[in-house]
Symmetry: C2
Subunit: 332 residues, 2 copies
Amino acid sequence: MVMRREVTLADVAERTGVSVGTVSKVLNGRGQIAEGTRQRVAAAAAELGLNARIKAPASHPGRSYLIGVLSTDEYGRFTIPILTGAEDTFGPGEMSMLLAESRGDAIREQHYITTFLNQRVDGIVVTGRSSDPRGSISDLLRVPAVYALSPSNDTRDVSVVPDDEGGAVRAIDHLIGTGRRSIAVIAGARRHTAAAHRVDAARRAIVAAGATLSGGDALYGEWSERWGYEAATRLLGTGVDGVFCASDQIARGVIDCFRDNGVGVPSEVGVVGVDNWRVITDAARPSITSVDLNLREVGRKAADLLTRMIQGESLSGGIRTVDCFLVPRQST
Amino acid sequence: MVMRREVTLADVAERTGVSVGTVSKVLNGRGQIAEGTRQRVAAAAAELGLNARIKAPASHPGRSYLIGVLSTDEYGRFTIPILTGAEDTFGPGEMSMLLAESRGDAIREQHYITTFLNQRVDGIVVTGRSSDPRGSISDLLRVPAVYALSPSNDTRDVSVVPDDEGGAVRAIDHLIGTGRRSIAVIAGARRHTAAAHRVDAARRAIVAAGATLSGGDALYGEWSERWGYEAATRLLGTGVDGVFCASDQIARGVIDCFRDNGVGVPSEVGVVGVDNWRVITDAARPSITSVDLNLREVGRKAADLLTRMIQGESLSGGIRTVDCFLVPRQST
């Protein structure tokens, strides 16, 4: 019978050629690790049998290690990266997330809050499908809550949102930097906070750069390819050489319209979208330069703040922002 | 001071003009209710103050009322409707779902299973991003598990999947019914169960109808618009009058290629996709007729079977299917 010595993180590090710190991060699901590295480390740990030795966290009296996640997003596209980011922070085998989608229904939301409290959650992450502010639930709770993406309208609450305005500025700076001087802005519905923030910031950045906002105002419509296509028809022949679209779907409609009408993208007009939704950006011809809202980082930060509150730290209320970043592709 | 009598379901029913049964279904999140009706009932119940009277369920000793949902889907598009369906069955305020995404990583999966068991879940739903069979976790558990979408490869387990083959037959029958006789089939990667099932069933249905499978075999590639476009270029000039695409993304690429090459859809060729993913189907020009995999019903059924197992019912192992349905749009 072969004696086997204890497998350590160092063994996995040696096998995969990364640092012990990286192995630890992968096994705890923490930090930003390249996908390829993560998979190699995980595979090596499994091969070496390290998985059997990873311990459950020590339990603390009064802690359930349950986090309630209350979402109003039926659709999932915005919620999922936030959940993934929260999991990055909470870590597998440490905190668990109870999921509830209220489907925008106050009665269901009340039910779920009650259920979370009955399950003795340590805290609650509240999230939604848009950056429109939402009502606070904190007065109903005996536990801390953090609002992610959809901020609380109560400034005593702790909220984390993408820096939508900074994202729009990055988009405009990129268009200016690639030589565009007459820039149109196409947004979804004007009532949405995301539209207002992106348009206001884009307008200021265009003025600051000494460029022109085509038509003097943004075009508002809906968050769809159809609207992007229609709005773009109004830009034909106006001399526009840059278009900032407040979503990738709008940008794809714009690009399709320009192609159908013989307008070259990016040779004549540069187009930037928002969301970095690869289903859309990568399928468009040409592919779409886009602002990534960094929603996974929003989830990570919200989970981090909630963890600190659960551990007794007192945080100041208000909205914290996470930087967006630009992903350049063929459309500019 | 005004005396208020107890608000009943009948009051809500009267206010909204629906039956008491419908009100009950809405408030319990059960059954299939039109979205408009659901919202009216919920709003009326909230206005009348009924929400405060909805009780938490009676607790049973030994039950945690927690269900673990173990997903391997990072992406969310397939998981979300399954979660929503499971919530329909479990009901708000009754069972709660603990969410864990293993990201296809065996170590994370093992961690999450341990965490679920530490949290004393009553049962586990296992789901994934494809209909490829996956390994069983049932031997690791002291509680029942049901596999949704991604079936267990152990026939003793209870699995629920969409009837992919039936869906493909519906697509072909629809093409035949709209007069198509020479039908091409374009799929994603051949190694995927979904591709194999859809292609095999489509081929049989084409033969059964006395029509022709264009080129004698399906075209296999990837699950993308790009591949759909490329595959469609090979069909130009072949006399094909119908195309069954194994995903909506493929179908959109096909439609774009035909439009770019002056082939009329649906006047010359009818095109059907799979997934009924409205982001894709509705943005395409023309909009895409598609097979809906009914994933929400897969989630509902999985949750229902799991509930019965938790209550002590002994179910036979094997794969149960849920019917798919066809949503006709302009492309046919």
